[in-house]
């Protein structure tokens, strides 16, 4: 990229961030709820993007980890624990369960792994539904309190939106750092060529488990924010369709692209709202849009961008080459 592109990118990023802080100030309750939901789902999708997009391990269980995080937060905060403590527990729990779920990935790959995680997802749902002594069963848990931050109550939608947004910011920075660290490169090596990664001395076993555990932990974070956001949880939102939705978000946005989950979650959470004027047809239109997009670009929206950029760069390079060649010929 040329010299001015980087400041331009930074400026664009700052504008988007400022927009996310300022514009929602005069949103109504529902608009803020949807935006908060976008932030929460982006966190969960980022976790899945680490597991699937960077480390190449198919998981159909991210929704279950959102559920685990949500129940951990709901149970703890309704028993008087502060939310940060609940988030820590949610992370630890999802990390541990995600680590264990990673073990099948050491034995089986691709569609088999997808089916194992799919089964796990449904099992987790059954536990949420049936263990009423812990989770309230089908009646769920209500009156989940929202936290006080620096003495400010976040019961109103706007302050809580800022909590979701700042959590998203923290997670984004952490993931940005992670994928640039040696770990992130090890994940990508795992995706591109596990055999070669192993022969280069990467402990593929450990990194596979890590990819699952860290991705799942982010699902847990998202869940721990989801519970106080809705203030009421029951098992239904955490069934298999949430896992499938999250997977669709990652693929539609662009798996393996840093900004993929942001876009994917935006489309999955906001597009149905924009299509609301079509009444009952909006999910149908959403499904058709997703299929159309995947036919056009299986690497998602950012895949299109990536390809046009690459095409432009090749074009520019070949133009330069042509110029250089003609110069050489005239010089002779």
């Amino acid at each position: 990229m040329s010299g001015f592109a980087k400041p331009l990118k930074i400026a664009l990023g700052l504008i988007v961030i400022a927009g996310l802080i300022v514009i929602p100030m005069n949103f109504n309750r529902y608009g803020l709820f949807i935006l908060s939901q976008w932030a929460v789902m982006t966190i969960a999708a980022m976790g899945l993007n680490l597991t699937l997009g960077y480390a190449g391990q198919v998981s159909l269980a991210q929704g279950a980890f959102v559920g685990i995080g949500a129940y951990a937060a709901a149970i703890m905060t309704t028993h008087g624990w502060p939310l940060p403590a609940a988030i820590v527990v949610a992370i630890a729990l999802s990390f541990a369960v995600g680590w264990v779920l990673g073990y099948p990935a050491l034995r089986v790959q691709h569609h088999y792994l997808a089916f194992v995680t799919l089964a796990f997802s449904t099992l987790a749902f059954l536990v949420f539904r049936n263990e009423s002594w812990l989770t309230g069963g089908i009646y769920g848990i209500s009156n989940i309190p929202r936290p006080h931050v620096f003495g400010i109550a976040t019961n109103k939608p706007l302050p809580f939106y800022y909590i979701c947004l700042s959590s998203l910011a923290i997670v984004s920075v952490a993931v940005w750092w992670l994928i640039r660290s040696p770990w992130g490169r090890a994940f990508m090596a795992l995706r591109e060529n596990p055999l070669r990664a192993q022969s280069l001395g990467i402990d593929t076993r450990r990194y596979t488990l890590m990819a699952f555990a860290i991705g799942s932990a982010l699902g847990g974070v998202a869940g721990a924010l989801y519970a106080p956001l809705t203030q009421y949880i029951d098992p239904v939102p955490f069934n298999l369709s949430l896992s499938l939705d999250l997977l669709m978000m990652v693929i539609v946005g662009g798996a393996g692209f840093y900004f993929g989950p942001f876009l994917g979650a935006m489309i999955a959470v906001l597009l149905p709202e924009w299509l609301r004027f079509t009444e009952g047809y909006y999910l149908m239109l959403y499904a058709i849009a997703v299929m159309g997009l995947l036919i056009w670009s299986p690497t998602g929206i950012l895949g299109i961008l990536d390809r046009t950029m690459a095409a432009r760069r090749t074009k520019a390079a070949s133009a330069l080459r042509a110029v250089a060649k003609s110069r050489l010929e005239t010089a002779q």
Binding site: Q109, M284, A287, I288, M291, L294
Partner: protein, 291 residues
């Protein structure tokens, strides 16, 4: 003891339906590496097509024929040409995700154009009980079992005894060589899609009188067929049949001997155990692991 017998018969009947769906599922996987996450919705839709035909005045037998034909056009031909063909070269995962979107689309379309409520559906088998070895067995279970067994038997005969079937198997196992020896591979793949559409329409006809026609009923069915296909062997038709029967029986036994709350967990745990210790399925041949 009589309880166990009843459970076995009922389990075999649902299992036979699962087997039909699972066989179609494995056929698509073998010929075109399609993991069809919409398979459950494929079973749900034909019943509504038949109901729609009856709404406009067609008698039941005509509605059945129309429903099967329509589902072969929509779920066989259109599914292959509009979704699978353009996606096939992109690999397994994007296509699988596209079928997930298709599942949402079908569900929503049925909810929107038909009804969100469950509708009753006439049975092709007369209701009532007959007595076998001193046990009262519902005619419906027997009828379902007989039709499903005939369908599976017909399919295996087609695959193993006819030239067409051999060509289909060749196209599935090694498309390049099949093409060289003159098998019209494309036509064979299309044929498997049509067979799958026929099987799901048949399954729809058999299972809907038992569970009612509802837009969301595909979810449970699709998952059961998945599990059946994998447990039995993802790359074998007879594996899918065995898997279907096994899951049907297991499901029914679990409901009465384990707990109604966790009945759905038993096949899932079984699935995980099978994948971990015998990933090729109980009857499947091992696939090389793509590393």
């Amino acid at each position: 003891m009589s309880n166990l017998f009843d459970l076995l018969v009922a389990g075999l009947a649902t299992g036979a339906i699962y087997a039909l769906v699972a066989v179609g599922f494995t056929l698509l996987w073998q010929t075109s590496q399609t993991i069809n996450f919409a398979q459950g919705e494929f079973v749900m839709l034909p019943a509504f097509l038949m109901l729609a035909a009856m709404h406009v005045g067609a008698p039941f037998w005509l509605a059945i024929i129309l429903g099967i034909l329509l589902s072969m056009i929509l779920l066989g031909l259109a599914f292959k040409i509009l979704l699978v063909d353009p996606m096939m070269r992109h690999g397994v995962l994007p296509l699988a995700i596209a079928t997930m979107a298709l599942a949402i689309g079908i569900k929503e379309a049925v909810k929107q154009f038909f009804s969100a409520e469950a509708s009753p559906f006439p049975s092709i088998v007369p209701t009532g009980d007959i007595s076998i070895l001193g046990h009262a067995v519902s005619l419906q279970s027997i009828g379902v079992l007989v039709v499903a067994i005939l369908a599976v038997f017909g399919l295996t005969t087609l695959l193993n005894r006819t030239s067409l079937g051999h060509q289909m198997q060749a196209a599935a196992q090694n498309p390049t060589v099949a093409r060289i020896i003159g098998v019209p591979v494309e036509r064979m793949i299309l044929l498997t899609f049509l067979i799958n559409a026929f099987l799901v329409a048949l399954a729809s006809l058999l299972i809907t009188p038992i569970y009612l026609a509802k837009f969301s009923s595909g979810e449970v069915l699709g998952q059961a067929a998945f599990i059946a296909a994998i447990v039995g062997g993802f790359n074998q038709v007879r594996g899918a049949i065995a898997g279907g029967l096994l899951i049907g029986v297991l499901d029914n036994l679990a409901a009465s001997y384990v707990s109604t709350q966790y009945r759905a967990a038993v096949p899932l745990v079984f699935l995980i155990v099978v994948i971990l210790f015998r990933p090729q399925g109980l009857l499947g041949r091992p696939e090389e692991r793509t590393v």
